[in-house]
Amino acid sequence: MDRNDATRPVTVPSTQVLVTTRNAQRLLTPNATARRYLAAFRTPRGIVGGIILVLLVALALLAPVIFPGGYDQQGRGALAAPNLTHLFGTDELGRDILVRTVYGLRMDLSIIIVAVPISVVVGTALGLLGALSHFAGSFVQRVLDIILGFPGVVLGLCIVLIIGPGWTSLVIAIAITGLPVFGRQARASLLEQEQREYVTAARALGVSKRTILVRHILPNSVDPILVNAAVFVVAAIFIEAGLSIIGLGIQPPEPSLGTLLNVGMRFIEQSPMYILGPTLVLILLSMSFSLISDALNATVTRK
């Protein structure tokens, strides 16, 4: 037997492993991280979701340019059905619903872009505390369990009770609602990683706990965090819309997707088309994130 066999690089084709030893692990292919995430956007869902999101964000960012008059331009012709001048119709004060919807989209995005990253970072940090101190980890999980016991809207109500309705309460409500999601996810990742042999190997080498956390555990936990983040954005959108639709979210005259639904609801008999525009945009927004999370889930998470 050629003694140098093992030194010639033998790329074991993935099927051989798949096909032969049933219990062999599927081969992991860690290309540069960025390349993997970009691959998600080449799948059909990624493409559709990505395009929709890009369009919506562009629309929201360019709103002051496209609609320089702002969201409060009142006029005659209230509650008109969609027509050529007003694509989504007009509201009870004669304002163009399309304009208000775009500004509402802008409002929603502003809430998400602040609340979700806060939730992700703080939640994950809390969840990973267990790597440094066993006790702290368990304690944090207890606290997160308590938060989890509050259904999302109820938590929002509590915050509104103290601070009053508005942008800040929505951001805080969303951020807190997300903490258990990311905290638990991070902890689950942590517990799973700690079982892996390369973590044990690092411990045996004498590597410090903090370095193990940063170098080994965190990079391998990022994938599920991102997928969850995309999914949570959808939940965040629903929380804003939900609280606003019962009047405890963004207050008029500022529009958000939820407040538009709130008012539209009141006029549903006379002007059923009122809510269609905001509904469409709301669905498109949540759909885009949902599709992106699907695409990420399929391409990025590995066993």
Partner: protein, 315 residues
Amino acid sequence: MLKFLAKKIPSILLVLFATSIIAFLLPRMAPGDPAQAVAGSDATEEQVAAIRAAMGLDKSLFVQYLDWLGGFVRGDLGMSFVYNRPVSELILDRAESTIELALLASVFMIVLGIGLGVMGGAARSKTARVVADSVNTLLIAVPAFVVGLLLIILFGVVWRLLPVSGEVSLSEDFGIGFQYLLLPALALGLALAPGIARLLQTTMLATQGEDFVDLARAKGASPRRLTYRHVLRTSLGASIVAIGMRFGELFGGAIIIEAIFARNGLGQLIVQAVNSRDYLLVQVLIMAAVLIAVISQLLTEVVLAAMDPRIRLED
């Protein structure tokens, strides 16, 4: 099995205890003086002080908390100062409406969720899988209240088939009551079903590759038998967890659905309570909401444990 339950009790009690403190403190952190609000803007100092004493707000926080907790355990939930009626009465009044809604919505949620999940996970017919997947993807992006609004437009405005506002309780008149209940329950169920369906689908597809499914295949089992007796049976566990977790969301969603369909349930009650700073009412309702979520979680775990012989027989 009993050991299993016994282990769960301490953490549940802890959660409930912590929640009671939060529920207690929350309304008191809000700005404004409730005694003033009740007395009215042109009340005198003495009148406000008298009302404050009547509400028990002059005692120390700690004493107030104990009073409340004690009453809660005894069943005396206190008095709502805005409605001037006992809290328990208010709750019982509205409870039926919310429970009806929750029950029917659960039925829809479970049936649709599992149905779509099996369709997507059975991997038998590619078209079935694609259809189920598309339906799921669409539904998951639509919140319950939007489904509700769309249903209202469709069945209440465009085709006037069903009533969309108000309610009649099932105990009064089942037929008419059901008509009022159908759309709101459907909206809730449709919104929560795709989460369950997705999870079931993923679990089933993953289970297809397991060794014991292979062994069953080696026995000569038909694909149908494989799917239902082996894959589905072991995958149901995950969906039970998903269902259990959604009970809490069910009540959260009910709050908004009740607003949209103008139903007079507990959800509406809590919104009004928050709006009017009705302390005691808010406290009790928050406790109730958490209690429901916690109990449903516990029940879920019990059902899961009962289904898994590894835990059931561990004694």
